[in-house]
Symmetry: C2
Subunit: 596 residues, 2 copies
């Protein structure tokens, strides 16, 4: 073999009259009898090459054999195309290569699908033949975007004197957080490593070590039931800094993200990013990761309807609940009464008992089954609260505040999608702050950390950690982009005593705290600096930047929803010798309850 | 908290007269009664700060409380030191900071060892308190060197249009190669993932996908019994390229390595690197990763001694063995007869039955117990073969060639270390090529791949794959630096038929090959380009560049020889609920044979 002189995408007008040697894949082949046109593709693009039976009979014979996706090497002269054959849509469209030497490097049999962006096979087929799926231009671009994004972030953090340090993958299982993937030890009988859910503990220890500024593009693992936007293994940009004010960290992140978007998408993003407290975000958008590319904010009408004749509303407010609503502008004539009643089942998923609605008519009139329960004054106040106009539809949920947030937040997103209210050219970053530190877990009957047990409480709330844990706010900040949680960060606890208080608030006994996190508590006694940090989900960031809606499209070899790799067929059975070495025995399959 | 104005290492003469705010650790504290001197350290270095009881009595009281490794924040004016107090050994030695405000950010109790480069505790204590061990300047420098090395490699490969693509960590267990770490699946009963030993299969699939140039700084795993230079998880710089000639790849690697060494060590390395075939390397140095920073090459005297009166030599040659030796220059008077005889036990480890020796004396005379068996002519020829001079000692092993290589290769290294023959300023890179493709595994009674089963045979040897597999050379190349194997690469098989032949040479049935590697064989039929690549051991590279001799010193949180983390105590027992979810049962501990 001899090296190529050019890449396919580099064969432009400047090369007319020159000889080139190219290597690549047959993208398309048109056989016109004595002339065969082939689009030859490599990573850089493609160019038309020509086999001419009259001029180059020997080469032509070889050319006749090639089929789609064959890998070939060709030599020939770059010619200018006839005016009528120029293709303005592609950069190489003014030229073609007259082939006078060809070598078939490898053949290809018929493909399970065509290598084009629009592919009409199921995702399962794409995943089984992932190596072909990845040939599609869109997949190549997404992988390139992922590479460029990661490279940019590394360059940026390096410039800011952050040091990339690798932390272990074979580490210790801890009971907090999601379910661990376990790795049996062959050497230590009955013992297991866990794959990291994040490098959290190690990055904090690196702060104890005095590295001051650490980052890592780190693989993390969670053995959870998967949704479309979850993968068992995922990549996070993990950042931690000592002696860095929270404000300085947020400012740096804003600078990094705006420069990234400019670099890889050529788009301008305003700084500083908007900030919302958790309460504000929930009250206004019904979400702690609101998409602010459109309005349709939640409006609280509890005060207006609390004495109304509509008992459902009045009694909800009386019992301490809320009545909140959203307004869908100008859509009244798109929804029949039946359509509107049908939306009730959508909010039921979020725990709401029902969805009330009112159409706004000319003359500040409200129409709908519940309209009759309201006084004129109440109607006017509702219209004013929503700044409603004729043609709008108002939707209400009366319930506990959490249910009102969740159901209206979801409805808001649904309407935005269905009514095309989203400006897809926008990158709306925002910070959500002052999250609750703890949430009550009904199932476990104890408080659990909303972020993780190492998050610092807001200083003025610290004393409430024992007395009213539900009201302690966290020094935490989530970075949100276009309705996705891009990442979360916080200032950390760095004092042994406060960390012990935190574990105690989570229901750990002293002994449990020591056996699980003793090394961290110990470390805190040897001169631990104040520190904080953030972790960004790289897969999700790339997904948004690439304009995709599926995390799997941003990962070269992803897993399915059941955590399988359809290409390699992992997981798979292993030999009994392997299990024996690990001192393990697979228990018989339990009959499921339905099966019994 | 307020941000620091400077880092400790930045407080230089230019700042005299200015106010600074610093944060860091108390490195050292000298209490002189009314004045306390503290060396304040952060990642950038350290500077002397002064608490003066007369000038700043309030601050002084706080200063009296601080102890070693406390984390403090101070403010004060930068003063010029008195001439007699200037410390020329450190960059900040001309100044000191007169503290007028101090805040203790965190206390530190007595440390298990002092934070200094020379530390007099066992490695186990260092590993248990790794977060303190990493505070030592040498460890900080090594981590920094590791970061810079990785960053340089990424920048270089990015510049060469290589794209970093992440491959899965949860993948499929394959029987070839080292032992896999397994990860039980919770969802798929009785099935397991394996952690990757390398991204080999995925990077080849990425070539099938047309990415053409891929790299990844990839974590890899091997569940093997550990030696000082092995870790259960390690990091490799993984590179693969399509349509790239082997020569172009080697040239690029040479360019990358020389630029790296220049960048991080400021040292010049000559290009192109030396090349040795495997046979040459073994015959001349008794090693396939020879350290060429010193001579002492192996000399073959089989032809000279084959008819000698020394039966051991003569009969070895007659039976097809060899007699090889090395010459230790000018060391004759450092070794007594007893010393020399004692070296026999050293080579026994490598399978040698004995080590013969001869001292060279004035007048081309040889002395030693076996001298009498040789004729004058034979003696003269031996002296000529070694270019020996009076005072040299010659050592001989007569055995099968493999044994002679191994034992003399090891002896050569031992002498070089003991006699200080190694020029530690040198970076001697070299390529070893033409490795045997297959080696015979006595235990398994079959051929196994010397590199891996995807390595391409040298074209002219391909036809011997079935008839004389032991004589097939591989299109493989190892990069060696100062006696360490830095990495290995090869051109790959890209044709289904040849890959099937290879599996068959390894003793796989068609069915086994298909069930384990079917997806790769299938992929080869859809237009696979010629490709090849290399993988470099990052930990080892950093170890050599940092001038360390222990891999653990290059890894932030390493494992011990029994694959334990002494800091977090991983691996550890997990709850029965976790095991139940995985459908696993730990078998009772087997009694060891000695225990029975």
């Amino acid at each position: 073999m001899t090296a190529r002189t050019h890449k396919c995408g580099e064969v432009l007008e400047g090369l007319i009259g020159q000889r080139v040697r190219l290597k690549g894949w047959v993208k398309k082949r048109r056989d016109l009898g004595q002339v065969i046109f082939v689009d030859l593709r490599d990573r850089s693009g493609f160019v038309q090459i020509v086999f001419n039976g009259e001029k180059e009979p020997e080469t032509f014979q070889a050319g006749e054999k090639v089929r789609n996706e064959y890998v070939i090497e060709v030599e020939g002269e770059v010619l200018e195309r006839d005016a009528q054959n120029v293709n303005d849509k592609i950069e190489t469209g003014k030229v073609e290569v007259m082939v006078d030497d060809v070598k078939i490097l490898n053949a290809a049999k018929g493909l399970p699908f065509v290598i084009e962006d629009t592919v009409d096979v199921s995702e399962d087929v794409r995943l089984k033949y992932r190596y072909l799926d990845l040939r599609r231009p869109k997949m190549q671009e997404t992988m390139d975007l992922r590479h460029k994004t990661t490279k940019f972030i590394r360059d940026y953090l390096d410039e800011e004197t952050f040091m990339e340090i690798e932390t272990p993958m074979l580490t210790k299982s801890t009971p907090e957080g999601a379910r661990d993937y376990l790795v049996p030890s062959r050497v230590h009988h009955g013992q297991f490593y866990a794959l990291p859910q994040s490098p959290q503990l190690f990055k904090q220890l690196l702060m104890v070590s005095g590295f001051e500024r650490y980052y890592q593009v780190a693989r993390c693992f969670r053995d959870e039931d998967l949704r479309a936007d979850r993968q068992p293994e995922f990549t996070q940009v993990d950042i931690e800094a000592s002696f860095m004010e929270k404000e300085d960290l947020l400012t740096m992140m804003e600078d990094m993200m705006t420069k990234l978007v400019e670099k890889v998408k050529g788009a301008k993003v305003e700084k500083p990013f908007a900030r919302l407290t958790y309460d504000e975000a929930m009250n206004r958008y019904g979400s702690d990761k609101p998409d602010t590319r459109y309005g349709m904010e939640l409006t609280d009408v509890s005060g207006i309807v609390k004495n109304s004749g509509f008992k459902v509303f009045a009694s909800t407010v009386e019992k301490g609940g809320v009545v909140k609503g959203i307004s869908l502008k100008g859509a009244a004539d798109q929804y029949s009464r039946k359509d509107l009643d049908g939306l009730g089942s959508f909010v039921e998923v979020y725990g709401a008992k029902g969805l009330a609605w009112l159409k706004v008519e000319e003359g500040e009139e409200l129409k709908g089954p519940i309209a009759k329960f309201f006084s004129d004054e109440e109607k006017a106040s509702v219209i004013e609260a929503f700044e409603a106009e004729a043609g709008d539809v108002l939707f209400f949920v009366a319930d506990k505040i959490r249910v009102a947030w969740d159901s209206l937040g979801a409805l808001r997103q649904k309407f935005a999608r269905e009514h095309d209210l989203i400006d897809h050219s926008k990158y709306n970053f925002l910070w959500v702050t002052e999250f609750p530190l703890l949430g009550y877990d009904e199932e476990e009957d104890r408080y659990v950390a909303e972020h993780h047990p190492f998050t610092r409480p807001v200083a003025e709330d610290e004393e409430k950690l024992e007395s009213e844990p539900q009201n302690v706010r966290a020094e935490a900040y989530d970075l949100v982009l276009n309705g996705y949680e891009l990442g979360g960060g916080s200032q950390r606890i760095y004092e042994r005593k406060l960390q012990e208080k935190m574990f105690s608030a989570l229901g750990f006994s002293d002994e449990e705290a020591k056996s699980q996190f003793g090394f961290l508590l110990d470390a805190f006694e040897y001169g631990t600096p104040p520190h904080g940090g953030i972790a960004l989900g790289l897969d999700r960031l790339v997904m948004i930047l690439a304009g995709r809606s599926n995390l799997r499209d941003t990962i070269a070899f992803p897993k399915t929803a059941s955590a399988s790799c359809l290409l390699t067929k992992a997981p798979s059975e292993v030999s009994s010798a392997q299990l024996e070495e690990l001192n393990l025995n697979v228990l018989p399959k339990k009959k499921t309850e339905e099966g019994e």
